[in-house]
Symmetry: C2
Subunit: 285 residues, 2 copies
Amino acid sequence: MINRLCIIGVGLIGGSLALALRRSGHVKQVIGHSRDAAHLQKALELGVIDAYELDPCKAVAGADVVVLAVPLGAIATVCELIKPALDPAVVLTDVGSAKQSVVNDVARIFGHVPPRFVPGHPIAGTEKSRVEAAFSELYDGRRVILTPLADTDVQALARVREMWQSAGAIVEEMDVAHHDLVLAATSHLPHMLAFGLVDSLARMNDHDEIFRYAAGGFRDFTRIASGDPVMWRDICLANPEALLEMMARYENDLHDIKHAITAADGDSLLEIFTRAKQARDKFVK
Amino acid sequence: MINRLCIIGVGLIGGSLALALRRSGHVKQVIGHSRDAAHLQKALELGVIDAYELDPCKAVAGADVVVLAVPLGAIATVCELIKPALDPAVVLTDVGSAKQSVVNDVARIFGHVPPRFVPGHPIAGTEKSRVEAAFSELYDGRRVILTPLADTDVQALARVREMWQSAGAIVEEMDVAHHDLVLAATSHLPHMLAFGLVDSLARMNDHDEIFRYAAGGFRDFTRIASGDPVMWRDICLANPEALLEMMARYENDLHDIKHAITAADGDSLLEIFTRAKQARDKFVK
């Protein structure tokens, strides 16, 4: 149970967490903070938060759990702002899609990683990104990965775990580096490919016509290219090593396909496509 | 109105066409042919066809319209098989995703492109591929591109146009080369990217874990990697030039993204992602 939850950055992720915790009765009061008063007012009207504070220090004061739900590039700034008012007893967690960069930012601002800071990442979202898109079911049955460090406080860890479970999620743990590699493969890389494809077509002379003849497959394939550009810029800057490694691996694969097409090597193409189809069909099951 | 429609290859595309034309009352009788008797029996039981013929010459005899709905790699073989029985008055059309290769195959087998052959391509489909997946609404509001040649018979063209309109589709015309480039960009390239991604991940050591943490975005992004490997092999072999051109263009774009990530160049990343998001959002509208 959380008495006073402070959510910094009340967008799709933070807003949906608030709604999910209200739904389960796991939270008494939700305080929102962001830089944008109109945005907070909207969150209030939508019943996502109970109140808001434009002063970050006032927002975290008295909270028992503080959730940083801002883009990765804003983590350091937010930590700096709340640091003077953050009670060491408060459980602090985040929702960033890359974890090493968050740990580094937190360590730099606080001089060490506070034991009650629990790095976290809900693997959920839509291509929408504002509080208007928040909904209480976002985390139902979805995975949340927590990446505790060696000296992370076990009670703080348990508290964050309970919070996400109350929001409907399945909570798992892994180490920071492994998280960043897994996410580079399954999320960051696909986003690069989709952004790259749409941009590539948008830059063609006859782009209007090109898009006109795109079918449903293209629509699904490129949905993730409608994601928030700022969030994705930050993810790229936060997880460059794992992402570049995956991109290089992918380029090799694409090169194999290109080579087979050039050589009219139908057997190799069939082999690659069959392996991919089997893996994908298995994944969907 | 079609008295006797012969569909060669009664899968998702051919089967759905039959069902759509039955729905609109545009066809009196549908005869199916494929190499697989059990498959044709299934199509008969599902009410997709009225009868089937295992002998291709018997199948096309007496038909006023013959639709080749087989993978691109089977077009030449099928033309060879039906050639002896094909009345010059019959309207012949196909549904291939690449058009130059079909025109070449038809010209090679018949010694010329018969004036009553109308190359066609319905831009519709799902990742499923058998007659069990056929449904009458597949073409509703979807585009069908016809690529008539200089000496294509205008009545035959009108007949094929009417057929697709009766099936619910919007029919457009463009020349063969342009079709192949547009489709390389909007369909063939995205399929290569999706197959490449899934294959790339499937070949990693910890692939089960990788797929386990994939979220909804990944599921949508890779749906097209569940497409029929044989069909996609054939498309690659049928449209290599345009596809390789698009792949090269795409690789350049991906290289820009990689370069920006390596250089921690947030401005360039934001610019690319924003341009892509705008293009994609506009496309969805």
